[in-house]
Assembly symmetry: C2
Homo-oligomer: 340 residues x 2
DNA sequence: CTTGACCTGAGGTACGTACCTCACTAGACA
DNA sequence: TGTCTAGTGAGGTACGTACCTCAGGTCAAG
């Protein structure tokens, strides 16, 4: 049988009350006694029964997902997974909620984060650009004892091991390799399209893409990144211009996570050019483009896994445990029509 | 607040004891009363608190993984994940264990399965070839009230929706598409290597591979499958023969899940032929071959996900719930050096 | 020596469910 | 009329932990 708090009390030579004080970090215990209890924990291999603990606490955990206010299909995917997570963990008394922030207005965003209170949330996963205001807001949330982890978008200064998301340099490199192999040694240019190159994630993908191209595929010339700023009209225009200006265009790499608009433009303007088009994230648009053949491949991460992983890590942090690393590594997936 | 059994008793106009009898399927309750309780469950939206339930039961669940006695790296991967699963779910009182069977001796295997008792296991995930003896043994386990699901290797007749594993036809098709794209339109032959073509999974992969090749890549001629029967010497010999007999060999598709020996042979005998080699399952051998460039890509399934999914489904079945389908779909993953 | 701050123990209740015993009732049957 | 039985209710204990109160103890400062 697994040792209980009672066994622990006996082993440490203290009362149940003291065990409780130590386990839950309450004050009023001499350092010496704390050590004695901790030694006993190791000695008898005590492990808190989380079932009983959460039952006794009369409430489970509430976690928030800080997400941008604006978004298209990829964001919707995440919202769906958050709804699913509520079903998955209802029996374990875990509730999950989205918190939307205006990512283009760092002040408003920071303000929204400052309103997140211990009363409402035990922890939050933050998907937000890396600005000083956000960084500060995160720091202050932690001071309020709210567990905080970066989500999908990395925040440089935060402990790296808790980041839930992919290595974007590797994701870009993966795209680079696929572009190279699919171009079959032909000589030509490749266009790179993105919402904005301001974000760290985009930069890293571009870096990874360029590194592989330069090293292995000298037949390809990668053009400077084109920024759409999320504007459909502008997107069409720059794609049209690029197609006209590059007769020897072989491929297009859509860096951002919202590929719908660029893909629509590609289907309208470039369907007769037999281009190798690569995009990120599995969404209705990318999926259908893959089936139609507009897209050669999708580089994606599993949104369900992302959300569940964040929840597991937040819970582990709340319970002062460490999560199982191998379960939480988010994989960079390659999708083609056959393995959709 | 969530309704409890007490609320349910009040709503149904019965006592707690009766509610307990109905919820846990005990005898001695009139049909009319059972219906009344079930109606009340729906009406007030009662949902059993699993935390409290497992705590009160004084024991969690014990699940078994029926695996072949013999195996190489892929099997070892699964064993590692089973060990990890024990860590993941220790707090929820779930124990997982491997049960090894001799898959080449259907009688012994069936005998081993017949020894699995309700005392030791609440449910098992079975990875075994589809023979009449095994099918029978599984049927009898179910009669003994042990939850049983097919694992990795599908069993045709068992309810399909509980199968934990990938669609092998799609996996073969994925390999076919990659082989086609990587061959860049060159004309030549492709060899297919496998332990044995006896298993349904191998056949399905081959079918998927052929379908894509025939439809889209008429430049490729797919050779008949070569069977190694797990014998290293034989493997070397048939690979050597194939290499010598096919001057225009473009690629090799290793169908089986244990690719170590064929890969070693390829590295020894075919490293100067610039072949496109594809294999299944992420293992130390395939990973290192991918890094070295011997392999063009790996088509794999996440073993951790497989094991966890099986556990979640078994638990759901024990608790008379349905698992969340979207979480349990095992993905066919493509690995190249960049997204390892 | 007294005071007060700090530490510790004893004992309780509660969480929501499982599982047990016992008593009671209504109706069937002899 | 009495006996039997299936169905039901009342009440309890237990699981392992959290959280509460209160009583008593130690020890240093005054």
């Amino acid at each position: 049988m697994r040792p209980t708090t009672k066994d622990l009390a006996k082993a440490a030579g203290v009362s149940l009350a003291t065990v409780d004080r130590v386990l839950n970090g309450r004050s009023g215990v001499r350092k010496k006694t704390v050590d004695a209890v901790n030694d006993a924990i190791k000695k008898i291999g005590f492990e808190r029964n989380q079932l009983a603990a959460t039952l006794a606490r009369k409430r489970g955990y509430r976690f928030g997902f800080v997400l941008p206010k604006e978004g298209d299909e990829f964001l919707e995917e995440i919202l769906v997974r958050i709804r699913e997570a509520n079903i998955t963990w209802r029996a374990e008394m875990i509730e999950v909620k989205a918190i939307r922030i205006d990512e283009h207005d760092p002040h408003k965003a920071a303000l929204a984060l400052s309103k997140v209170s211990t009363k409402d949330f035990d922890g939050v996963a933050v998907m937000a650009p890396e600005t000083p205001q956000i960084r500060d807001a995160i720091k202050r949330m932690r001071e309020r004892d709210i567990m905080t982890i970066p989500f999908i978008a990395n925040q440089q200064d935060i402990e790296k091991d808790n980041f839930v998301g992919i290595n974007n340099r590797a994701a870009g490199a993966t795209a680079g390799r696929l572009m190279g192999r699919f171009s079959c040694g032909r000589t030509g240019t490749v266009a790179v399209i993105n919402d904005t190159m301001q974000s760290r994630d985009s930069l890293e993908r571009r870096l990874g893409f360029d590194a592989i191209s330069n090293q292995f595929f000298s037949n390809l010339t990668i053009l400077p990144s084109l920024e759409t700023f999320g504007d459909p009209e502008r997107t069409h225009k720059i794609i049209e211009t690029t197609l006209n200006a590059n007769a020897n265009l072989l491929g297009v790499y859509i860096i951002g996570s919202e590929a719908r608009v660029p893909l629509e433009a590609m289907e309208r303007l470039g369907h007769d050019r037999h281009l190798t088009v690569l995009a990120h994230e599995r969404t209705p648009s990318t999926t259908s483009a893959l089936k139609k053949g507009t897209l050669a491949a999708i580089i994606t991460q599993d949104t369900g896994h992302l959300v569940r992983s964040a929840v597991r890590i937040l819970r582990a942090k709340c319970e002062n445990r460490s999560a199982l690393a191998s379960q939480e590594r988010i994989r960079i997936e390659i999708l083609i029509a056959e393995n959709l």
